[in-house]
C-alpha cells in the first residue's frame, strides 16, 4: 500500500508541472520587465510612441495600436470565412462531405507560421503593392495572413458549438414554417453564440500573439498607422526583431513589451474559458 501512495505522490508532482511552468514563465517575464516599467513610468511606456531604446525612449503606443488594428482586421476576415465554413459544414453539408472537409480544413493549423509569412511575401504583398498602392508590406497584408491563420481555431470551435445545439430547436423552427436558413440564423446561431464567442476570442488571442508571419509581411515600421496600406510593427514583431542584439535596459524594455502582450492574451483566454464554463 505504501508503494501505491508513493506512486500517487509522484503523479501529483508530475501533474503540477504545467501550473509550475506557467508560474515560472510569469515570474521570469515580470521579473525582467518590471524594472524598466518602474523606471520609465507606466504612462510613458504605454502612452508614448517614441521608441528609441538605445537613447532611452521606451514608448510602445504605436506597437499596441498596430497590434490591435492588425488583429481586428484579421478577425473581420477570419470570422467571416470561419463562420461561413462552420455553418456550411454543421448545418448544410451532407454528412459525408462534413466528415471529409472538417479534418481537411483543420490541416490549415498544421502549416507552420513561417510558411504563411513566406507565401504572404511572395503572393499577397506584390498584389497589394500593384493594385492598392503603398509598399505592400502593410497592416492589410498582416491582417489577411493572420485572418487565414486563425481560421482553424474559429472553424473547429464554432462547429462544435453549432453541433451542440439540440435538433429539437431546429425541428421546432422548421415545424413553424421557417426555412433552413431562417432556422440557422434566428434559432441555431443565437443558441450557439455562447460557444462561438469564445471561438472568436481565442482566434483573437492567436492573432495578437502570432510573430513570425507578421514580421515577414507587415513591414515593421515604427509609427502609428494612418491607413491599412501603411507598414506596421506589432508588439510581437518588436520583441522578435530586437531580442537578438538588445542588452541592458533595451532588453528589459523587450520583456516589458512581453508583459503587455502576456497580460492581453491571458485576459482574452480567461474570458473565453469563463464564457465556455458558464454554458
Amino acid at each position: 500500500m505504501k508503494k501505491e501512495l508513493f506512486i500517487e505522490r509522484v503523479l501529483l508532482f508530475l501533474a503540477l508541472s504545467s501550473i509550475g511552468a506557467l508560474v515560472t514563465i510569469t515570474v521570469f517575464i515580470f521579473w525582467e520587465g518590471i524594472p524598466l516599467i518602474a523606471s520609465a513610468g507606466l504612462k510613458n511606456f504605454l502612452l508614448s510612441s517614441h521608441w528609441a531604446p538605445t537613447r532611452g525612449h521606451f514608448g510602445i503606443l504605436a506597437m499596441i495600436i498596430s497590434s490591435v488594428f492588425v488583429t481586428l482586421g484579421a478577425l473581420i476576415l477570419g470570422v467571416l470565412l470561419g463562420l461561413a465554413c462552420a455553418i456550411t459544414l454543421a448545418e448544410f453539408a451532407p454528412e459525408r462531405v462534413k466528415i471529409l472537409l472538417k479534418p481537411t480544413l483543420e490541416l490549415l493549423a498544421g502549416i507552420p507560421s513561417v510558411v504563411y509569412g513566406f507565401l504572404g511575401v511572395v503572393w499577397l504583398v506584390p498584389l497589394i503593392r500593384d493594385y492598392l498602392g503603398g509598399p505592400g508590406l502593410s497592416l492589410l497584408a498582416g491582417s489577411v495572413i493572420l485572418g487565414i491563420m486563425i481560421l482553424p481555431t474559429v472553424i473547429s470551435i464554432s462547429i462544435d458549438a453549432l453541433s451542440a445545439v439540440p435538433d429539437l430547436y431546429r425541428d421546432g423552427s422548421i415545424a413553424l414554417g421557417a426555412t433552413n436558413w431562417q432556422t440557422v440564423h434566428r434559432v441555431v446561431l443565437p443558441a450557439a453564440s455562447s460557444g462561438i464567442i469564445p471561438a472568436i476570442i481565442l482566434g483573437m488571442g492567436r492573432a495578437i500573439g502570432e510573430t513570425m508571419a507578421v514580421i515577414m509581411v507587415a513591414g515593421n515600421a515604427l509609427k502609428i498607422p494612418t491607413s491599412v496600406l501603411d507598414p506596421v510593427r506589432t508588439l510581437t514583431a518588436n520583441i522578435a526583431l530586437e531580442l537578438g542584439y538588445a542588452s541592458g535596459r533595451h532588453r528589459e524594455a523587450l520583456f516589458a513589451t512581453g508583459i503587455v502582450l502576456f497580460v492581453i492574451i491571458m485576459i482574452l483566454n480567461l474570458t473565453a474559458s469563463a464564457i465556455t464554463r458558464r454554458r
Binding site: 501550473i19 514563465i25 517575464i29 481537411t104 426555412t179 523587450l254 492574451i265
Partner: protein
C-alpha cells in the same frame, strides 16, 4: 419590402458555399504552391549534404539533425510529464480544487504565444542557467510548449478506455497501479501516440521559440550544449534575407509535407480509437 424567405435562403446558401470553397481554395493553393516549387529541389543530395555558403548551396542535412535533436528532447521531457498528469487527472482524483488548478495551468499554458515562450527560454535557460543557445535550451522550451497538447490528448485517450476494463482488473486482484500500467495505458496507447505525434508536428514548424533558444548555427550540433539551426529557422532565414529562393522552397516543402503527413496519421489514429470504444 421583404425578401422572399426562400429566395434569401438560396442566396445565403450560395454565399456560404462560396466562402467555404474559397477557404478550401486557400488551403489547396498553399499546399500545391509549396509542393510544386519545392519538391523539384528535394534530391537525395539536398537531404544528405550540409548547407554551404550560408545556405546558398548544398543541402539541409545539419538542419534536419538539429530539428530531430530538439524535437526528440522535447518529446522525451514532455511525454512523462504529460502522460503522468493525465493519469493523475483521470485515475487518481475526483474533480476538486487540485484538478481545477492543474487544468487551469494546462489551459493557460496552451494559450501562451510562442514569442513569450521564446523570451522565457532565453532568459531562463540561455542566460540564467547558462546553457547558451543550444539544443538543450531549445528542447526544454519546446517541451513546455507541447506539454498541454500531450496532457489534453492523453486525458481524452485514458478517459475513452471503458470502466469495465478497470473493474475486471480489480476483481482479479490487481492493484491500481498494475491496472493502469498493464491494462489502461496499453489500451490508451494509440490515443497517447496521437498527442505525441501532434507535438512532433508542432515542434517541427516552430520558429519563434527556437530562434531565441537554440540559435541559428549552421554546423551539425555535436552535443546538447551546441547551438543548432532547425529546418523552420533555416527556412525563415533563407526567405527573409533572400539568400536562396529555391533552397527556401525546398526546405518549406519538406517541412510542410512532413507536418501534414504526421497530422493526418495522428488524426486517423484518433478516429480509430474513438470508433473502437464508442
Amino acid at each position: 419590402m421583404r425578401l422572399d424567405p426562400r429566395l434569401s435562403q438560396t442566396i445565403m446558401k450560395a454565399l456560404l458555399w462560396t466562402l467555404t470553397g474559397l477557404t478550401l481554395f486557400i488551403l489547396i493553393f498553399i499546399i500545391v504552391n509549396i509542393s510544386i516549387k519545392g519538391l523539384p529541389q528535394v534530391t537525395p543530395e539536398f537531404l544528405l549534404e550540409d548547407p554551404q555558403d550560408m545556405g546558398r548551396a548544398g543541402g539541409i542535412f545539419s538542419t534536419i539533425v538539429a530539428t530531430a535533436y530538439v524535437t526528440l528532447l522535447a518529446i522525451l521531457l514532455a511525454s512523462p510529464l504529460g502522460v503522468g498528469s493525465a493519469i493523475y487527472l483521470t485515475e487518481y482524483t475526483r474533480e476538486g480544487w487540485i484538478t481545477r488548478i492543474i487544468r487551469f495551468g494546462a489551459e493557460c499554458l496552451a494559450g501562451v504565444p510562442s514569442i513569450i515562450l521564446g523570451l522565457f527560454g532565453f532568459v531562463l535557460f540561455v542566460m540564467t542557467l547558462g546553457f547558451g543557445w543550444s539544443i538543450l535550451s531549445g528542447g526544454l522550451t519546446l517541451a513546455i510548449m507541447v506539454l498541454p497538447i500531450i496532457i489534453r490528448t492523453s486525458e481524452e485517450a485514458i478517459k475513452a478506455v471503458p470502466q469495465d476494463y478497470r473493474l475486471v482488473c480489480y476483481s482479479l486482484g490487481l492493484s491500481k497501479w498494475q491496472t493502469i500500467t498493464r491494462i489502461v495505458l496499453p489500451s490508451a496507447l494509440p490515443g497517447i501516440s496521437t498527442g505525441i505525434m501532434l507535438s512532433v508536428g508542432r515542434s517541427l514548424g516552430e520558429t519563434a521559440v527556437l530562434l531565441f533558444t537554440a540559435g541559428a548555427a549552421l554546423r551539425t550540433p555535436a552535443s546538447l550544449f551546441d547551438s543548432g539551426r532547425t529546418m523552420a529557422v533555416h527556412f525563415y532565414i533563407l526567405a527573409r534575407e533572400g539568400i536562396s529562393m529555391p533552397n527556401a522552397y525546398g526546405t518549406a516543402a519538406i517541412l510542410m509535407i512532413s507536418i501534414l503527413l504526421i497530422n493526418i496519421v495522428a488524426y486517423g489514429l484518433m478516429q480509430r480509437v474513438m470508433k473502437r470504444y464508442s
